[in-house]
């Protein structure tokens, strides 16, 4: 998911850059008021872990691979502000030192891989925590679900940026179905790894998991853990269900490569006309027989992401006291 330099147009790079810088400064400001210095090395370790885990590309299906995003995991472990910053550090260091993802692509890479998964994932986590029992298993399950949702949101954010900043004539609908579809599967891997990692931390060091700060540490140790099989089957079921819902939306979009390559220039002309003054990239809306549906999908996805991220940030600011580490 690391996009290289020049992947989206300059305007989108600048706009996402501004959003990313703004959010990270907000997070830093929040942290400065509450920081317990012990959190810094913890964040460093979490960042190193995410960095290392991203080197594992796990196979998803026929030839595609995905890697851990880690934003939700970091947010649940460290608290959302520290989590967002830790993964931002990962993305920035990858770009500068390891040539992984472009320097001028940092705006959207940080947004998609750190900010959206961390805050959006944390928002989802808080929601799921309300629905699930207040136990170690409940925290694990909420982590897994939040991980899954965070990956899907990240893929959606990417597609929406494509709508504004496409540099190639591949339509939004194609990118959306491709990205979100594949990433629901990747999300299962994310869910399992995040939940297992949080489960392992809860089992031996429950005191450091910010997202479980409300639980009674002494009780967690005695609990029975969810078997992995149940967990994976559950995650797959949720992914399939959500995937089915999404594909219902996108079903009218062009499917398969040939159908798009076969489109005539006619639709493009018509569209250019319809979306004359639009801020959307011509490329991303070109070749669509139903651009309003695409825009509707983009709109819904956008609202979902903004709601989840906003909820995550709000929750984070509200329970600042929850940002803590071992004492």
């Amino acid at each position: 998911m690391h996009a290289p330099d020049g992947f989206l147009n300059a305007g989108t790079a600048v706009a996402t850059g501004a959003i990313s810088v703004g959010t990270v400064s907000l997070a830093l400001r929040q942290l400065r008021q509450t920081i317990n210095e012990k959190q810094v090395p913890l964040a460093g370790i979490a960042a190193a872990f995410v960095f290392a885990a991203q080197m594992f590309n796990f196979p998803v299906a026929a030839g595609t691979t995905g890697h851990l995003l880690g934003g939700a995991l970091a947010a649940i472990l460290l608290g959302p502000h520290m989590g967002a910053i830790a993964v931002t550090v990962v993305v920035v260091v990858q770009a500068i030192v390891f040539a992984d993802g472009g320097l001028t692509a940092l705006g959207y890479n940080v947004l998609n891989m750190a900010i959206v998964p961390a805050y959006g994932g944390y928002g989802a986590f808080r929601l799921f925590r309300r629905l699930l029992p207040a136990t170690g298993s409940g925290v694990m399950a909420a982590t897994g679900l939040a991980g899954l949702v965070s990956v899907a949101m990240s893929a959606m954010a990417f597609s929406i940026e494509w709508l504004f900043g496409a540099t190639a004539p591949v339509s939004f609908a194609q990118v959306f179905t491709g990205m979100v579809g594949v990433h629901f599967l990747i999300g299962v891997g994310e869910a399992v790894i995040s939940a297992m990692a949080i489960g392992a931390v809860l089992a031996s060091r429950p005191d450091i998991v910010a997202g479980a700060a409300d639980l009674d540490i002494a009780r967690i140790g005695g609990e029975r853990r969810i078997p992995l099989r149940t967990f994976i089957i559950g995650a797959l079921a949720v992914a399939l269900f959500l995937g089915a819902v999404v594909s219902q939306f996108a079903i009218d979009g062009p499917d398969g490569l040939e159908s798009v390559a076969g489109e005539t220039g006619l639709a493009k002309v018509a569209q250019d006309h319809a979306l004359d003054t639009s801020i959307f990239s011509d490329y991303a809306t070109a070749g669509l027989d139903n651009e309003s549906l695409s825009l509707a999908i983009a709109g819904i996805a956008g609202v979902m992401i903004v709601l989840a991220v906003g909820w995550g940030i709000l929750a984070a600011v509200r329970d600042r006291g929850g940002d803590r580490a071992a004492t």
Partner: protein, 254 residues
Amino acid sequence: MGAGHAHALYVHEHSLVHHLPPQVKVASAIAFVIIVATTPREDVWAFVAYGAAIGSVALFSRIELRFVLVRMLGILPFIAFASLLPFVASGEQVDVFGVAMSRSGLWAAWNVVAKASLGAATSIVLAATTEVPDILAGLNKLKVPALFTSIAGFMVRYLELMVEEIGRMRVAMASRGYDPRWIWQARPIAASTGALFIRSYERGERVYDAMLARGYTGEMPDLRRRDPSRRDWVVGSLLPASALIVALLARVIT
């Protein structure tokens, strides 16, 4: 998305570039990449000139071009992605060796390949001439908050240890016939991931204790004071300045 062994990044040499203060190099690299990324893709020859520019910086730093090229293999996934574009994209079709391709798809592919390669080459040269702690110190001087760079410092320090640990775990798994193909075979990865996490964390906690024991109060002492002179800045601006001239020339000519 592979990151190699941390030590393979830096090439020990004594060149002018190596000795530039890190903040100058980081600023110069960022400015250069911004100019590259904002150059319209139709200005083909400008990209050739940029390539020559970053190539000469590499030569000047006594880094072998082969080293840069090998490390650039990391962007292969994007090249693979880009090479699909001419086939996937819509719009006017052109005939290339008898295969129908989308004209704008070809341009888009060229755009991604050119900018991604130049961007990657720049990062590689920066990392080959500047050690990671120096890059972080440089970022700090460029007003990146200390909290950010200290997290990065901790991260980098632990990365190497963890990479070794993962390598060992991978070998251990492979030697017992574990070769994951499908997601439901991921159990050992997930399980060992949890163990790795705890191990690294507790290690970090001990290092942190060692730092506290020596009076650490949350801010790294600044041991690498080396304020850049005006000459350093001039040298550092050579790369972005020449790129800027190329970009402007390209605009005027085309």
